[in-house]
Symmetry: C2
Subunit: 117 residues, 2 copies
Amino acid sequence: MSKTTNPNFMNGVPELLILRLLKDHEMYGYELVQAIRTVTHEAISLGEGVVYPVLHALEKDGALKSRRKAVSGRTRVYYTVTPAGQKRLTHLVSNWTKLNDVIASTLNGGAYASLAI
Amino acid sequence: MSKTTNPNFMNGVPELLILRLLKDHEMYGYELVQAIRTVTHEAISLGEGVVYPVLHALEKDGALKSRRKAVSGRTRVYYTVTPAGQKRLTHLVSNWTKLNDVIASTLNGGAYASLAI
DNA sequence: GCATTATACCTTGAACCACGAGGTATGCAA
DNA sequence: TTGCATACCTCGTGGTTCAAGGTATAATGC
């Protein structure tokens, strides 16, 4: 009777990164794709197929707000974080940090000592 | 033409935890399910539906070795890490650490300063 | 003596996310 | 004028994780 209560505990990292980057600067999708690559020194490389859907979902949820802006003939859609988005970001960061701590301590083996074997 | 080169960059954490725990002690599936819960202080709770398939896959890949053992009428399947599994663990840990570092530095905002804006 | 819980193994179907590939369109450089 | 970079988007696939179910034995509770 497996009783797990983690709703997909590892997911949502793209969302986390995107919210975090947008918190500092208003950005548009295409820019984000490259910013993530640059910021993570190529370690993480999210394609447009990941970024755009996340952006749309976050806006639909009220975590982001967008405005269209014409730049030299092309249209860019700039996104900014709403107060709701800010709250969501805080929550995601705290979750990630917690998760990370327990994984790190498990890898270091320290936590296992607490087990009664 | 999105060009991403991360084959599902966030996955494989259950595998990582299982290999890490088995490295210290020979364990059986049901025991692992609870060990993970205990070790992570309930932060991560992998069900049997996660653990058993991972165990089978790892054994099939030669990363684990199993032996059946009868304990008070019940049969337990104990798993140990093979040299190949040890190598795999090392690799997974290094990947996880690297990934983690870039995410952490992104969250801290330090990395963004390296962007030419 | 009987029912429930804990132990111990397992599989399966759905859900979800990330991915790659494709599609449209404009501007600029070779 | 051909190609590449910019800039937006969607869709189908695939791989993981999930909950829920199934089987069977031992121990505990009433």
